[in-house]
Structure formats: structure tokens, C-alpha cells
């Protein structure tokens, strides 16, 4: 190594010297590797199990001896996977769009206007974020049932039309938006509507993207609410499809894992494409 560096001094200038391997860094890395294995192993196991033939399903080998796509074929035959994926995508996309739009409108009001009780309303919205969905599930169910929307995709979307996270995140971002720019827009003749959509929103692209990713992923992974509402497979999302392999006669683990793998793929793709953005949005929102 030394000889190599002396022979090529240019490399020495451009390449930072490798940090000496110290004990504490080594321990740190070891811990991270263990944690990573903990997180990744279930995903790995899901994929491996989905490739195992039925008679090997409970094998503890790390790799299936005779991998096959039989489980995928089975899954595609027994439930309308494509339809369900399309449903899930449509629901997630519409919920995301709706939350961004309603969030922007509400956040603008909170960030820009002073009105009687504004702080109270804001903190009440913040509080709804702390209430678990299971608490409002039954009232929501009754509401949707009375609207005659049971077993429909609309019922999956409407209760999520506005979200506290969206309002809080966007209001925070808008508060730090320079007041002078908004005043300049007012002097230029822009009203509130223009200021929101033409001046503020285009400059909050980063926050909006983060928010959209968070909402999309969490809607995609939603299970309880669809479980409560869905009756027919055609009006269900993929998470319900997975559950359909768990019957009173037993669980079809192979097709279930195949369906689960297919359900994860779109999210995995989003993650791969927007990796940096996704990690940032999780850090920004301070959750998970």
C-alpha cells in the first residue's frame, strides 16, 4: 500500500487516507450489521418462502432446494392480484393527492391568518394525530355505512381526505417561508389563492414530496380499515388479498408470501427510486 502510494503521488492527493480501524468503530459497525439483519431477515424470509414448493414450506434452510414460481401462479389464480394492486394504487394516490391539497389549504390558513380560536383549532388537529385510528374506527364505520359506501373504494378514501400530519408538516414549512416574498406578491397584486398556489406551493416542493411519500406508503400499508369495510375481492386492496390466504382451514403460507412479495414490490420500487427523499421524509416527520 505504501509502495503503491509513493509510486503514484497523484492518487495520494485525491484519495482520502482510510481511517484506521478502531475498536469503537468496529463495535458500532457490528451493532449496525446485527440491526440490519434483524430488519432485513423477515423480508428475505418472505421472498424465500414465496419460492418454496408446498412440501418444503416449513424448511429452515436459508435457500429453497427447488425454487419455483408455483406459489405466485397460485396466488394470481386465487385472488385478483392485479385488480387489487390497481385498487391499492388508486386509493393510495387519491388519498395522497387529497391530503396534500387539503393540507395546503389548511396550512395556509394557520400559517398566514390570525382568527379567533386559531391556536385551539390547530392544537386540536395536532391532537387528532395522537389518537390511534382504532379509536375513531367505529364512528367512521357507522358514518360510511350510513352513507351507503360499505364495500367501496370511496370508503377507503373519504375518511383519509384530510390528515393531521399533512396540516402540521405543511403549516410548519409555510411558517418558515419568507414573509417578504409573500408581501412582494401582495404588492404585485396576488390574492391569497395565487399566493398559495403560485408562490408558496412551488417552493415547498421538497416538503410536499416528503409528505406525499409518507402518506402514500402508509395508505398502501393500511390494513385495519380496509379489513373492516371490504366484502368483495374486486373492491379490496392488496393487504386484504394477502389476508384471504388465512382461512379457517389453515394458512396457505406459500401463496400468502407470494402475494405479500407482490404487495411490497411497488413500495420497494418507490423506495429505490426516491431513496434519499424517503429517508429524509421519515427523519423530517420524526416518526419511525
Amino acid at each position: 500500500m505504501t509502495a503503491d502510494l509513493t509510486l503514484r503521488p497523484a492518487a495520494r492527493l485525491t484519495r482520502p487516507r482510510a481511517a484506521p480501524l478502531r475498536l469503537d468503530t468496529a463495535i458500532g459497525h457490528a451493532v449496525m450489521v446485527i440491526l440490519a439483519v434483524f430488519c432485513l431477515f423477515p423480508v428475505y424470509w418472505m421472498i424465500v418462502t414465496s419460492l418454496r414448493p408446498a412440501n418444503e414450506i416449513f424448511d429452515a434452510t436459508l435457500w429453497p432446494t427447488s425454487a419455483s414460481l408455483e406459489n405466485y401462479a397460485h396466488a394470481l389464480r386465487s385472488i385478483p392480484v392485479w385488480r387489487m394492486l390497481a385498487n391499492t394504487f388508486a386509493v393510495s394516490a387519491l388519498v395522497t393527492l387529497a391530503q396534500v391539497v387539503t393540507g395546503l389549504l389548511a396550512a395556509y390558513a394557520f400559517a398566514r391568518w390570525r382568527f379567533r380560536g386559531d391556536r385551539l383549532v390547530y392544537s386540536m388537529i395536532a391532537m387528532t394525530w395522537l389518537v390511534p385510528f382504532q379509536v375513531v374506527m367505529i364512528p367512521n364505520y357507522l358514518l360510511v355505512a350510513n352513507m351507503g359506501l360499505l364495500d367501496s373504494l370511496s370508503a377507503l378514501i373519504i375518511p383519509h381526505f384530510a390528515g393531521a400530519l399533512a396540516v402540521l408538516m405543511l403549516a410548519q414549512a409555510m411558517r418558515s417561508f419568507p414573509a417578504e416574498v409573500i408581501e412582494a406578491a401582495r404588492m404585485d397584486g396576488a390574492g391569497n389563492w395565487r399566493i398559495l398556489w403560485q408562490v408558496i406551493a412551488p417552493n415547498l416542493r421538497g416538503t410536499i414530496a416528503s409528505l406525499a411519500i409518507l402518506v402514500f406508503i402508509s395508505t398502501w400499508n393500511e390494513y385495519f380499515w380496509p379489513l373492516l369495510l371490504s366484502r368483495s375481492p374486486e373492491n379490496s386492496v392488496i393487504q386484504i388479498g394477502i389476508q384471504m390466504f388465512m382461512t379457517s382451514e389453515g394458512t396457505a403460507w406459500g401463496p400468502l408470501m407470494a402475494a405479500a412479495t407482490m404487495a411490497s414490490l411497488p413500495i420497494l420500487l418507490i423506495y429505490i427510486v426516491l431513496q434519499r427523499q424517503v429517508v429524509q421524509s421519515f427523519m423530517k416527520s420524526g416518526i419511525r
Binding site: E180, V181, E183, A184, R186, M187, D188, G189, A190, V199
Partner: protein, 370 residues
């Protein structure tokens, strides 16, 4: 273009009064600079003219029309902000065209005005860049361009040069003045920088603590400051102010020496204590004089030198004459010429007439105003 009338304007924030009845009449086409220390209410006043702040009391009229209840866009004012306030996601062209787009001007007219403003401000090569790709001076010019294209009746400038470095500030100052000469639009410029104030203004308004201390041309204000505040605020270094008293028909400096000055036609009654003022550049320096001063420190400014001296128990700033420029000095004789002295009331700080001639002149001025 229009004249602008501010009458009896007050501003209250949560019951606390920050502007105490401002009256300013601005002629069409004038370049008015409002100057004062931070917190004096100058920016608040400008924002009230712009329509960004409500008027608690009083009226603001532009071109004869009271605009109190007209929204900012309808007042015919364009504002240049301290931090430029450009739209970060728009190009220079879009930034400048935005107010015209909102006003639904036809595209050809928009393009014509933007091209014209860009040519005036040397921005033509940068029209397709975004603000982040521009230097501070260029951003400031875009902000001015956005104001120019609207062809406003009144230009408002809110400390527009304070974020620029010293050299650029001088360049932009001259550009703003040239621009005013070219467009001849009524302009109101707020600053805390006295050099900007002196150099830019046709009319200078000095504000302090929510009041107008003095209004007038820069030269008038410099030569006849209306109060110790104005005397101390304009001029670098500031006017020397020292306690004095009239004794035996002469002006006697309080303090160690008890130095007495003969002022012909002294108008201040015997025994009165007051504040005496004299500008550093008006003090004459001699090898020896009845008033001797100990030099404490000499500041080299290149073109001139300022000596900080102790005389008659006071610290005074003295501008050294050129012929003394290179000699080291430790003791100086000082002459305070009677014609260069200012007198201020001890309690209120307001200007009082030092001589009979001054008293007569101010009486004439008062009669003329009335």
C-alpha cells in the same frame, strides 16, 4: 407619478403606540429618504404607505386620493425589499413579468416592458436565470426591475442596500439615483445609513422614536440640525456636543478649563446652561491657541485624518487639515469659530438660536411658513 400626503398618521401595535402622528408632504417626483436608528418606526411608516400595515389613525393620500382602505396592489406603489423578496422558483423574466401577468396585460406588452427594464438595469443576459444563480447586486436589480415594469406612481425602498457589500452599495446607490433621474417617479427610501440618506435625498426626513425629528434638504439638515439627536445622527464622526453656559456675555465651556468664547450678537440670556455643538470639520487647528487639546488617538481615513482629543474636560473629534497630514501630533491648539457653533436646549435637546442673527432668520422662516 404622484404626490404623496401623510397626515396625522399613527400606528398602534396591541395598544402600544409606535408612530405618534406623522405629517409629511411629498412632492411629485421627489426622492425622499427617511432615515433613523432601528426601531424608530421608519419601516413601519413605509409599510403603511405600501398597504402592508393598517393605519391606526390619520390618512395617507397618493395623488390626492386617500388610500387607507385600498389594498397594496391598488395603491400604485411598487416596493423593493431589503432581502430582495424574489420568487425563488421563477426566472428573472418571470419574476419581473409576474405583476403584469396578474394585471392581465397582453403578452406583447409584458415582454416589451420586461425587455425595457432589463436593458435599463443591465439584466438582459440573465433573463432566463433563477435568483439563486445571481449575485446579490443582480438580485437587487431584479427586485428593482420588478418594481419598474409596473410603472408605479410611487417607488418604495425598504433598506434595499443593507445586504450588499460596501463597494456594491456605492455602485447601487448611484444606480438608484440615475434611475430616479431617468424615471422621475416619486420615491421613498428608508435607510439607517446616513451616507445613503445624505447622498440620495432631495428631501430628508429624520425620524426618532416614532416622531419626525426634522425634515428638509440634506444640506439644510446638516447645517442646521433641529435637535441634538439630528446633530448626533448625521455626520461621521458626529457633531461634538458639550455643556456650556453664558457667563459675562460670553459662552463658557463647562469643565476643567472653563474656556470662554466670544460670540458676536449672542442671543442666549445670561446664566443659561445649554448644549453647544460644533462639527469636527469646522474646528480650526493651530499650533497654539487659548484652547489647548491633548491628542488621544488619530484615525487615518486615507483622504483625511480625525483626531480624538481631550480639551476643556471633553472628548472632541477634530478633522485635521491637510497640511498637518503627515506630522505626528500630540498637542493641538483649537479654535471654535463663532459662525460654526450650534446651540441646543439642555432639557429638550431642541435647537435654540445662538445669535441674534439666527433668531431673526428663524423668525422670518416661521413667518414664511405661517
Amino acid at each position: 407619478m404622484a404626490d404623496l400626503n401623510i397626515s396625522g398618521v399613527k400606528k398602534l401595535y396591541d395598544g402600544k403606540q409606535v408612530l405618534h402622528g406623522i405629517d409629511i408632504a411629498i412632492q411629485d417626483g421627489a426622492f425622499v429618504v427617511i432615515v433613523g436608528p432601528s426601531g424608530c418606526g421608519k419601516s413601519t411608516l413605509l409599510r403603511m404607505i405600501a398597504g402592508l400595515e393598517d393605519i391606526s389613525e390619520g390618512d395617507i393620500a397618493i395623488g390626492g386620493q386617500v388610500v387607507n382602505d385600498i389594498d397594496p396592489a391598488g395603491r400604485g406603489c411598487a416596493m423593493v425589499f431589503q432581502n430582495y423578496a424574489l420568487y425563488p422558483h421563477m426566472t428573472v423574466r418571470e419574476n419581473m413579468a409576474y405583476p403584469l401577468k396578474i394585471a392581465r396585460l397582453p403578452r406583447t406588452e409584458r415582454d416589451r416592458r420586461v425587455a425595457e427594464a432589463a436593458a435599463i438595469l443591465d439584466l438582459t443576459p440573465y433573463l432566463d436565470r433563477r435568483p439563486a444563480q445571481l449575485s446579490g447586486g443582480q438580485r437587487q436589480r431584479v427586485a428593482m426591475g420588478r418594481a419598474i415594469v409596473r410603472e408605479p406612481q410611487v417607488f418604495l425602498f425598504d433598506e434595499p442596500l443593507s445586504n450588499l457589500d460596501a463597494k456594491l452599495r456605492v455602485t447601487m446607490r448611484i444606480e438608484i439615483r440615475r434611475l430616479h433621474r431617468r424615471l422621475n417617479a416619486t420615491s421613498i427610501f428608508v435607510t439607517h445609513d446616513q451616507v445613503e440618506a445624505m447622498t440620495l435625498a432631495d428631501m430628508l426626513v429624520v425620524m426618532n422614536g416614532g416622531h419626525v425629528e426634522q425634515m428638509g434638504t440634506p444640506v439644510e439638515i446638516y447645517r442646521r440640525p433641529a435637535s441634538t439627536f439630528v446633530a448626533g445622527f448625521l455626520g461621521a464622526p458626529a457633531m461634538n456636543l458639550m455643556p456650556a453656559r453664558v457667563q459675562g456675555g460670553r459662552v463658557v465651556l463647562e469643565g476643567a478649563g472653563g474656556h470662554a468664547l466670544t460670540v458676536p450678537g449672542l442671543a442666549i440670556p445670561e446664566g443659561t446652561a445649554f448644549t453647544l455643538g460644533v462639527r469636527p470639520e469646522e474646528i480650526e487647528v493651530a499650533r497654539s491657541a487659548p484652547l489647548m487639546a491633548q491628542v488621544d488617538l488619530v484615525e487615518e481615513l486615507g483622504g483625511s485624518r480625525i483626531a480624538w482629543v481631550a480639551a476643556a474636560g471633553q472628548e472632541l473629534a477634530v478633522m485635521l487639515p491637510r497640511d498637518l497630514a503627515d506630522t505626528p501630533v500630540s498637542r493641538l491648539g483649537l479654535v471654535l469659530p463663532a459662525g460654526a457653533l450650534h446651540a441646543f436646549d439642555l432639557a429638550s435637546g431642541k435647537r435654540i438660536a445662538l445669535t441674534l442673527a439666527e433668531a431673526a432668520a428663524s423668525q422670518r422662516a416661521a413667518v414664511a411658513v405661517a
